[in-house]
Subunit: 151 residues, 2 copies
């Protein structure tokens, strides 16, 4: 394998968490990718776009697959914006712990526990009432809107 | 402006830091986007792809512009992989503090101060000798490789 396309982890596909588990609550299943919702009380509108086959980095995908992956991310982003009017959308492909291509798509609000810092930083405030109760739609409604966007 | 495309910040373009400043050491300037290197001692191989015009979210771009933006991110990613053989590439579009579309492209290493956590989290270890001295190429060499990839 060429140096630039190698995955610098000694992680066999068989031991990759995203090869053997959904990685969250399944919302949409497509041939090449899936959308799951992450169960995070602090950030209830938190979805992942997960590429089904095991690749480590975005640049490992062929151009057409990369476009399909990003358009799926953007479709989730559009639904979150339309349904929630968040302060900001956060997108990230990190994979330091699970080097299997997946995108975090997170609706952020000025009132959330970490804003304006990334969700991976230090909490800035306690949030009460709960983040989930502050959303203008239910998570079931949000999931449904995402499913509809992929129909 | 339609609800789904509005920017939920009361930030006039004239007060946007990325509308008035480069946002880092300029490496590549193109009509629609620029590449800058971030001066971060802990993460020396840290670049940003910044869309030149003021848009808040990836979904605000037309499809062809979005593809151009992502292909620029991927081009930087490819150079970092080829030149540095990092443990992982981290990509993120956050913009909570500066809601002007920009992508962080960061080469991560198992030895870096925060690995396997995101760079925005809590440091896991002290790093000595310096991160910059551990890279297999100089930053000038890395900048040059990125410039060449955009020629």
């Amino acid at each position: 394998m060429a140096a630039s396309s190698a995955c610098w982890f000694e992680m066999a596909q068989s031991s990759c968490d995203l090869c053997v588990r959904d990685g969250g609550e399944p919302i949409v299943r497509k041939d090449k990718l899936r959308i799951v919702r992450v169960d995070d009380a602090a950030f209830p509108a938190f979805y992942r776009v997960i590429w089904n086959t095991h690749v480590c980095e975005l640049s490992d995908l062929a151009t057409s697959d990369r476009q399909a992956c990003i358009e799926a991310v953007v479709t989730v982003e559009r639904v979150l914006r339309a349904q929630l009017r968040p302060t900001k959308i956060n997108l990230a492909s990190l994979g330091n712990m699970v080097p299997h291509l997946h995108w975090h798509v997170i609706a952020r609000f000025e009132w959330d526990s970490h804003f304006p810092h990334p969700v991976w930083g230090v909490a800035q405030r306690a949030v009460d009432p709960s983040p989930r109760s502050r959303l203008p739609v239910t998570l079931d409604g949000l999931d449904l809107a995402i499913r509809s966007a992929f129909d």
